[in-house]
């Protein structure tokens, strides 16, 4: 009796381990959260042809959400649905407050949950499934949730940037170069617990060096005098050459060089900064219909609109990320100075969720002591 029980248990453990290994696929033994992509058994919203005019929708976003004047009004003109936008802090704040009010949401649609926080939101049952018809034009790699509780809207890469003229030697070509003594005191990045690009860079280092190597890599970075700031602004404008700082390498975005080009004073022919391709970690931002909304069909119409070309083509120059819809056309500065790397680093959101608190704690112990 006793033996059977324990044998059954070991069989279960073998099964779980096998599943985990399959889920990761990278060959590295990362643990993954099991609950994240389970079937939620929720009824999906169906796009109907009911007259929705007169409805007012609330769209919760992070503070960095920005569209051109007239974009959301185009949606109102099309459908008669009014959109009230509510900005509620940074991406982490938005997800945390949505988790806090799950089922009794402050808005109908949420925009701005990214792959790093995705499973936290899915496990808290934040969203009602809805499969937009426009998903055909979206790269399958961006979709992530098989149950369509969230819809990808945009994506971008967090990449290490360098100020070409301020570098002590040649431009870095790998993450390991940042820990090389020739770049001592040159690199500034952010605390992964207070900054989303900071967390992306931590994930990039884990994806590159694996569970066994990333901690040593960070010890090397610390020995090489890496600067850690709380947020992107204090790194880019405080430590980095852009704000007069003494460091020539910083964690930022793939789209930062085009922005440096577009907003240069005086105007320049080419951006003063470049991107370390090997460091790029992909961030995907999603929108979802919040469970508990009184207007599911109008919310579905808004998701369709956000995935449509009008909204999608408005994204790049306002939020400096790439549209998820492959049919949307890109502005010139993006094509010229912000090319996407083909093989950006990624990580399964279920793996991120299962390990986040442990990784950031270990990062704290190594870097902040």
């Amino acid at each position: 009796m006793h033996t059977t029980h324990s044998r059954r248990r070991s069989a279960l453990i073998v099964l779980v381990v096998a599943l985990l290994a399959a889920a990761c696929g990278s060959g590295d033994d990362f643990a993954a959260s099991e609950a994240c992509f389970d079937d939620p058994n929720l009824d999906a919203v169906e796009a109907g042809d009911a007259d929705l005019s007169g409805t007012t929708l609330r769209l919760a976003t992070h503070d960095s959400f920005f569209v051109s004047e007239g974009t959301l009004e185009a949606f109102t003109a099309e459908t008669g649905i009014t959109v009230e936008q509510v900005a509620a802090g940074d991406a982490g704040q938005v997800v945390s407050s949505a988790v806090l009010t799950a089922g009794n949401p402050t808005a109908d649609v949420l925009f701005g949950i990214d792959n790093a926080f995705l499973c936290r939101g899915l496990e808290a049952d934040l969203f009602t499934p809805y499969e937009s018809g426009l998903l055909d034009s979206v790269d399958d790699a961006l979709e992530l949730d098989p149950h369509h509780r969230v819809t990808p809207i945009d994506f971008g890469d967090v990449c290490v940037n360098y100020w070409t003229d301020a570098l002590p030697g040649s431009a870095p070509t790998s993450l390991a170069d940042l820990a090389d003594s020739s770049n001592a005191g040159q690199f500034a990045t952010m605390n992964p617990e207070t900054s989303s690009p900071g967390f992306a860079f931590l994930l990039a280092s884990i994806a590159t060096f694996g569970e066994d190597g990333w901690e040593d890599y960070w010890r090397d970075l610390v020995a090489n005098d890496v600067a850690i700031t709380a947020g992107w602004s204090d790194a880019y404008y405080g430590e980095f050459t852009a704000g007069g700082g003494a460091r020539s390498i910083v964690t930022s975005y793939a789209s930062s060089p085009p922005a440096e080009f577009l907003f240069a004073d005086p105007p320049v022919d080419a951006p003063p900064t470049g991107v370390l391709d090997e460091s790029c970690f992909r961030q995907i931002e999603f929108a979802g219909i919040l469970r508990g909304t009184e207007h599911p069909e109008a919310a579905a119409a808004l998701i369709d609109f956000m995935l449509g070309t009008t909204f999608q083509e408005d994204i790049p120059l306002n939020m400096f990320v790439y549209p998820a819809n492959g049919d949307a056309e890109l502005p010139e500065a993006f094509v010229e100075f912000g090319p996407l790397v083909d093989d950006a680093l990624t990580m399964d959101p279920a793996v991120i969720e299962a390990n986040r608190d442990d990784w950031t704690q270990r990062w704290n112990d190594i870097v902040l002591g």
């Binding site: 609330r58 919760a60 503070d63 960095s64 920005f66 009230e84 936008q85 509510v86 900005a87 509620a88 802090g89 982490g92 704040q93 997800v95 945390s96 407050s97 988790v99 806090l100 009010t101 009794n104 402050t106 808005a107 936290r120 808290a124 617990e193 207070t194 600067a227 850690i228 700031t229 709380a230 947020g231 992107w232 602004s233 204090d234 880019y236 404008y237 405080g238 852009a242 704000g243 007069g244 700082g245 003494a246 930022s252 930062s256 922005a259 440096e260 577009l262 907003f263 240069a264 004073d265 005086p266 900064t273 120059l317 306002n318 400096f320 986040r356 608190d357 950031t360 902040l368 002591g369």
Partner: protein
């Protein structure tokens, strides 16, 4: 009828307390209950780790140091503004509130620029990633609290007692030590508590200038609630924070009870400078403090007027159009800031002045509770309050969480303690003889309050109101959790948005907008705060 009115009056004393309980007590309680229900791991959780104990110790250490340094730097200027009448006196009182409204990121980058220019990037006095940097920033933000609370009260104390002491042969220093300081103690206590609470719950300064190496209870609450969605630990930390603050407020109330005595009040004790020597001392005091306040602001000016090819007004001029990434024009953002600031000021003044009356004249039971309830918001984490409001003000009872009204109301909770702390010492100092005389002449309680108390308290109310206005203009962390309509974007938010993208032009516009905010703040506070009694 008469009895009816008496009962009504008695209940009216509890109105400020009730307002505070609804706006503050209820949300905080909701969040704590939610956290406790999610489970607090007391035995082996994050609470028992060395890191948490270190955070608690560091929170208290930096708050004590910040308070002492602020008093040290601000008292000479307070003394000067209270005792000498000179041109620009009122403008200085308005100017010191400017740091209050500048976004932390702007102040931090200005301090970093200063550090690089003065070479203070390393060593024990480094203005970057050090305890010194944190304390210096707290002093920068809090000078106004001391100058306005202590200076304002001081200028209203009649100078007769010091004059008598001097005539009896005491030197200036002895008279100061034996006569003036004891008389100032109520205002000193008020300012000390406010500065301590501000430093105790400071968030942006610790994160940005501390270089993320330092942790306080406040940053730990944020870390657990926002980064980890662990409301249990956040609630436990909030309870630690609340208990510490409550203990402090209670001890402070006990101490102040012993100071509760009438004093001779004056219209304005300030006199013109008597000698050249006094003028020089005055110049040194004003110059010294203002230099400290101005150095970081100079970096702002440089950023605002330096253009790609030299100097110019380009950035300022570009503010008439809507810069990229802003949902509104800067002009609209300024109007938004002013509207929220003025509303927050009105709410804070009504709640604060009412609470001050209840604390001094109300029934015994209401006094202490009102005192405690009015101070707690200053010592409460923005995360606790903001998230609590999301839970409390949902559709079930009042749907306030989606209304823009929640922004000025939340700001008023931070502004009200200033009004309370400015008004209470003045009301306490009103000589009972004066009130008795009025009563003998046949005035009822309401008339006495209207004709005796109100005029004397007025300048204190205005001084507190000026603060509440600055708090509103400067935007407040808790409101970012509640969510707002992008059309309601305020100036500090606009500045932060501009600084969250790469590009020289945006950085210049952010600095230009910071300068505009500085000017608007000085003008607005100057206009509200006409201290008629003190003739400032």
């Amino acid at each position: 009828m008469e009895r009816h009115r008496a009962r009504l009056t008695r209940w009216a004393w509890y109105a400020p307390l009730a307002a505070l309980l609804v706006l503050y007590g209820w949300p905080v309680l909701e969040l704590l209950v939610r956290g406790i229900r999610e489970g607090i791991d007391l035995a082996d959780g994050p609470l028992t780790t060395r890191a948490t104990r270190r955070a608690i110790t560091f929170t208290i250490t930096q708050a004590v140091l910040s308070t002492m340094a602020t008093l040290f730097l601000a008292l000479p200027l307070s003394a000067l503004l209270a005792n000498r009448r000179f041109r620009g006196r009122r403008a200085i009182r308005a100017f010191v509130t400017v740091p209050f409204v500048l976004p932390t990121i702007v102040v931090a980058s200005a301090m970093l620029a200063t550090a690089e220019r003065t070479g203070l990037t390393d060593g024990p006095f480094a203005l970057q990633g050090s305890l010194t940097a944190i304390v210096a920033a707290h002093v920068f933000f809090n000078v106004a609290v001391v100058v306005r609370t202590v200076g304002g009260f001081w200028s209203g104390l009649a100078a007769d007692q010091e004059r008598a002491a001097r005539m009896l042969g005491d030197g200036a220093a002895t008279a100061m030590w034996r006569v003036t300081l004891p008389r100032l103690r109520p205002a000193l206590a008020a300012a000390t508590v406010i500065v301590f609470l501000f430093s105790f719950t400071s968030f942006g300064v610790v994160l940005i200038l501390g270089g993320t190496r330092f942790r306080t209870i406040e940053t730990e609450i944020f870390r657990h609630a926002v980064s980890r969605t662990d409301f249990g630990t956040a609630a436990a930390l909030s309870i630690i924070q609340l208990v510490t603050v409550a203990a402090l407020v209670v001890v402070d109330a006990r101490l102040r009870q012993r100071l509760n005595r009438p004093d001779d009040l004056a219209i304005d004790r300030a006199i013109p400078f008597a000698s050249t020597r006094e003028r020089i001392v005055g110049l040194v005091v004003v110059g010294g403090t203002l230099t400290f306040l101005c150095v970081p602001m100079l970096a702002l000016l440089e950023g605002a007027f330096r253009t790609g090819d030299g100097w110019g007004l380009d950035h300022l001029e570009s503010l008439t159009d809507r810069p990229p990434f802003l949902t509104v024009t800067p002009a609209r953002a300024i109007l938004n800031s002013l509207a929220f600031g003025l509303l927050a000021m009105v709410f804070a003044t009504v709640i604060g002045a009412g609470a001050a009356m209840a604390i001094v004249f109300g029934p015994r039971r209401s006094r202490r509770l009102t005192d405690l309830a009015s101070m707690l918001p200053l010592g409460t984490s923005a995360v606790t309050l903001g998230f609590g409001m999301l839970l409390a003000f949902d559709d079930d009872v009042i749907e306030l969480r989606s209304s823009w009204l929640i922004i000025p109301l939340a700001q008023a909770l931070i502004g009200a303690p200033f009004v309370v702390r400015a008004v209470v010492p003045v009301l306490r100092a009103i000589d009972p003889a004066m009130r008795e005389a009025a009563a003998t002449l046949g005035a009822d309680a309401a008339t006495i309050r209207r004709t005796v108390d109100a005029p004397i308290a007025r300048s204190a109310v205005l001084s507190g109101a000026g603060f509440a206005l600055a708090v509103g203009l400067g935007e407040f962390g808790a409101t970012s959790f509640v969510g707002r309509d992008p059309d309601h974007m305020t100036v500090p938010l606009a500045i932060e948005r501009l600084l969250s993208q790469p590009g020289d032009v945006l950085q210049g516009q952010a600095m230009a907008l910071s300068c505009v905010l500085t000017v608007v703040t000085v003008a607005a506070v100057f206009a509200v705060d006409r201290d008629q009694r003190a003739g400032l």
